[in-house]
């Protein structure tokens, strides 16, 4: 099987770009990624877009507005959880020979809309899906906005394992310390434990500083099949193994199986950890991972991801975080660009760009020494192992 390589990355950065169109943001990210890769626009024959209109752009308008001549195109549901899915889909298209150069393009606009969870936000009608809202929203009960399901899960998790708020604070503070070293991050001012504890509750037990920072952003990651001897402008970063999104009655995107939130059963969670396919298929163990990057819409997701993928036993990620293991210099630096909590909520693209920088050795002050394996992983079960 061909190896799939990341050959170029580009981004607009993260911020409030309310006056900008989605297509111009996407175009800037694409131009930057092509320049990074040493490729021309005409090379791009595949496109996987996250997400569609109105917060992002649909594949057909992207192809037209960005002058792309495509023989493979698709896009994902209008939600943030599909960064890994987009990259996997692009890799599969390459493996199947459906395209030779795939641009994974993500545009997210927030400033142009009302807040998440309010009636004016795109996708509000999803609260009334037959199976309940995408994050357990149930409007007539007052359980509103993505934070509701995350907070409900966090309360149960903290009760089940005796976890104190200081563990959530440790996550938020670690991400902020990393962001302070990242010129692209939107939240770079120092955060102390006192700052965290003084942060107002939005939905108890979660505080404002447990929440990611909404931004406007566009990113592009260009994938190709790796060929021996091919001259590339950048050191290639290989996608070594994959696993897809998990689904099922016991899965909630902002939780952990067994917590029994918007789910069927309550049970003691026994995660696969080191037996997850992403490790087994690559022949490595969690301990071989040099840096982990995860979807941190809310701080507890970092703890849940660490446990799901075997870096700590159930309930044990709190001590792992409090001991500084997730910070640069620690045992497993996590979200070294600041993550959604401090770099800005890019739905995983900021983390993916950072993974590439870490494996190229270009992460500057944030560089993890001798970085060989970097893992993208989420509370929703998908993962990609990258290596250089």
């Amino acid at each position: 099987m061909d190896q799939i390589a990341v050959v170029g990355i580009g981004t607009t950065g993260f911020g409030k770009f309310a006056e900008r169109s989605g297509s111009s943001m996407g175009n800037d990210a694409l131009s930057a990624a092509l320049e990074d890769a040493g490729l021309e626009r005409g090379h791009v024959d595949g496109l996987v877009s996250q997400i569609g209109s109105p917060r992002g752009l649909d594949y057909d308008e992207l192809a037209r507005l960005l002058c792309l001549d495509l023989r493979y195109a698709t896009q994902t549901w209008d939600h943030g959880r599909f960064c890994g899915t987009v990259l996997q889909q692009a890799a599969m298209a390459l493996m199947a020979g459906l395209a030779d150069t795939v641009a994974c393009l993500a545009v997210f606009r927030n400033s142009a809309f009302t807040k998440h969870g309010t009636q004016g936000f795109p996708g509000f009608e999803e609260n009334f899906r037959e199976g309940g809202g995408p994050h357990a929203e149930t409007p007539h009960t007052g359980l509103l906005a993505p934070i509701g399901g995350a907070a409900m899960s966090a309360r149960r998790y903290m009760h089940r394992y005796g976890i104190e708020p200081e563990a959530l604070a440790a996550v938020a503070i670690a991400c902020r310390r990393h962001a302070a070293l990242n010129p692209l991050a939107v939240k770079r001012e120092a955060m102390t434990m006192d700052d965290y504890m003084a942060s107002p509750f939005i939905c108890e037990p979660l505080r404002r500083l447990d929440c990611s920072v909404p931004v406007d952003t566009a990113s592009v990651v260009i994938l190709r099949r790796a060929k021996d001897g091919e001259k590339l402008r950048q050191r290639p970063v290989y996608m070594r193994s994959f696993q897809g999104l998990a689904g099922g009655p016991n899965e909630l995107v902002f939780g952990q199986p067994g917590l029994g939130i918007h789910q069927r059963d309550v049970f003691d969670y026994d995660p696969l950890g080191a037996d997850e396919p992403v490790f087994k298929n690559a022949g490595i163990k969690p301990g071989d991972v040099d840096t982990m990057h995860c979807y941190d819409g809310f701080a507890p997701q970092v703890l849940w991801t660490l446990e799901r993928f075997g870096f700590a036993p159930p309930g044990g990620a709190a001590a792992f975080a409090r001991d500084g293991c997730i910070e640069l210099g620690g045992e497993l630096p996590v979200n070294t660009s600041g993550g959604h909590l401090s770099e800005g909520h890019s739905n995983g693209w900021g983390q993916t760009l950072e993974i590439v920088r870490q494996l190229r050795g270009t992460a500057a002050e944030r560089q993890v020494p001798s970085c060989r394996h970097a893992l993208w992983a989420t509370t929703f079960g998908d993962a990609i192992l990258y290596a250089n």
Binding site: Q119, H140, T141, G142, R155
Partner: protein, 145 residues
């Protein structure tokens, strides 16, 4: 015994709040207007599930019948909103929402109506019907300690 019924105390704005009524959940919401909680019980495996979807979420069987439930249970988890995401809830902030583990049944969400006490995990609760001005009735909970 029927569940107590109270009027939703929040505002009555223009937001969409009520769920879609489908053939799979209509009996549940219709019964709540009479103060009765019914949930689908699987004839195959005996699991009592949530009122959505065409089949049992434990075994996949579509052979189910409506079972009257007490509405009693215990607090499984809870949250407290300090921000109103819809204007209907503005006057209620801060308000709590619980996940109730129903006796013999599933976990269900509901607003917490006991204003002088915060929910405690594992404490007993009883179901209450909360009626909106448009007649829609949903499940809520109060302390039963």
């Amino acid at each position: 015994m029927t569940l107590a019924c109270v009027d939703f105390p929040g505002g009555h704005g223009s937001s969409r709040v009520r769920p879609n009524i489908t053939p799979e959940n209509k009996a549940h919401y219709d019964a709540l207007t009479q103060g009765i909680l019914v949930l689908p019980e699987c004839i195959g495996c005996g699991a009592i599930g949530v009122p959505s979807g065409p089949c049992c979420q434990s075994c996949g069987s579509d052979r189910r019948e409506w079972r009257r439930c007490s509405g009693r249970g215990a607090v499984h988890s809870w949250v407290r909103y300090h921000r109103a995401f819809l204007p209907e809830f503005e006057g209620l902030v801060p308000y709590a929402v619980i996940t109730a583990q129903l006796d013999g049944g599933p976990n269900m969400f509901g607003r917490w109506l006991t204003s002088d006490r915060e929910p405690r995990i594992d404490a007993p609760v009883r179901g209450v019907v909360e009626r909106w001005t448009d007649g829609f009735c949903g499940l809520a909970f109060e302390d039963a300690s």
